[in-house]
């Protein structure tokens, strides 16, 4: 992560059109990537939880919930960094650009998930129903993340994954972006493992208290 930060400010050159504001790319894009990845991890862990019944993956419920927590956090940060960049580039913090709308929808899904979980507090079906909702939301995700921005015109620069399947960046910027994406991804997995460990400890303490 320190390497990513140093490379973002010292190694990568400023982009031709975007100027120094392009350095936000190395934080905004990885955060958006991690928020999407966290969502997929939540969905996959939810599928494992539903199909496994806690036999081989007893902590799957903790994984999908903690991943949703981290996904919400990174989505909020991605929205904040994106808004700052939008103000600098397009003159306003919010424009309902399809990609901005996609991240808001992701945040809506997370908030709906937490609302559902709160409504199910104390019920034995809480984990199961929350997992089902995440799987349904994951099914919807490809429709709005990948299809809708390509259906509607966007203010965003060329998508990184574009029709000719090439990343249109200078080599130094490409390397910095890659390092940043890897760093944020590793940070996400590290925090997920920490949260899972914390959930396990809390469950053990509650079991001991009940005895």
């Amino acid at each position: 992560m320190p390497a990513a930060v140093i490379m973002a400010f010292m190694y990568a050159p400023a982009a031709a059109v975007l100027g120094e504001t392009s350095r936000l790319l190395y934080f905004h894009v990885p955060l958006a990537w991690v928020s999407s990845m966290a969502f997929v991890v939540s969905g996959v862990a939810a599928i494992v939880f539903l199909t496994d019944g806690g036999r081989r993956a007893p902590r799957a419920q903790d994984t999908f919930h903690n991943s949703a927590v981290l996904g919400t956090f990174t989505a909020l940060l991605a929205t904040a960094t994106g808004s700052v960049w939008a103000k600098l580039m397009w003159g306003s913090y919010w424009n309902w650009d399809p990609r901005q709308t996609s991240i808001v929808i992701l945040l809506l899904i997370y908030s709906a998930y937490f609302s559902l979980r709160s409504a199910l507090a104390g019920r034995p079906a809480r984990g199961r129903l929350s997992a089902v909702y995440l799987v349904i939301a994951m099914t919807v995700m490809p429709f709005f993340v990948f299809v809708v921005p390509r259906v509607f015109g966007s203010l965003h620069p060329d998508p990184v994954i574009n029709p000719d399947m090439k990343i249109h960046l200078e080599p130094e910027m490409k390397l910095t972006l890659l390092v940043s994406v890897v760093a944020f991804s590793l940070l996400y997995f590290h925090m997920l493992l920490l949260l899972n460990r914390f959930s396990k400890i809390r469950a053990t303490v509650e079991d001991l208290r009940d005895e």
Binding site: L108, A112, Y113, F143, V148, F152
Partner: protein, 229 residues
Amino acid sequence: MRRPSAAGRYALLEAVRANIIKDFRIEFRRRFAVNVALSFAAITTLAVSLTAGGARLGAQTHALLFWIIIFFSAMNGLSHVFTREEEEGTALFLRITSPAEAVFTAKLVFNIAVIAVIVAAVAPLYVFFLDVEIASPGAFALVACAGSLAIASSTTVLGAIVAKAGGRGSLFTIISFPVVLPPLWVAVKASRSAIAGGAVSGDAVFLLAFSGALVAVSYMLFGHIWIEE
């Protein structure tokens, strides 16, 4: 995975048919879901017309208002089919007597019928009261059908979840909105095109694909919602 036998498939179809008849019969007697949804739709349409005050609205505004009315009318009516079972205590009986797949299929068919009634009522009311000139009525009807199918497909299983959570107030709307937003968005765009006389085929395919994907996933997941611990 073992394929069900012909006898098993027949039994499933019979269970689906029996549940559909039951739900329609109960709804025909009480008319609660349809009444509430239609009343809400009519009130909203009239309120929009009244506040528009005869102003000439653009195609985008008409598309937006039309689908907002459809969405919130659906939110008033589509969770009822499951919450009724939990509130009246018939859910356990249904779990014992019918396979989960049959229950889901029957409820889905019912919800599709309810939203079809809502759209069939709202569309002419809206066109009449707001004096909308639709350049491609056939395309508009296609989008209305495809969009409402997408809404029913995605909210049926969510209604089952909400019923297990006690069916409280606006929880159904809260959890449905993010799931329904992509087809809603495309439906608004397609309706605008239909009103203005543009092409809607790509959008209609998107809506049907969305419906298909959600029905398939919901069918596979419903058993996890329906079981009682």
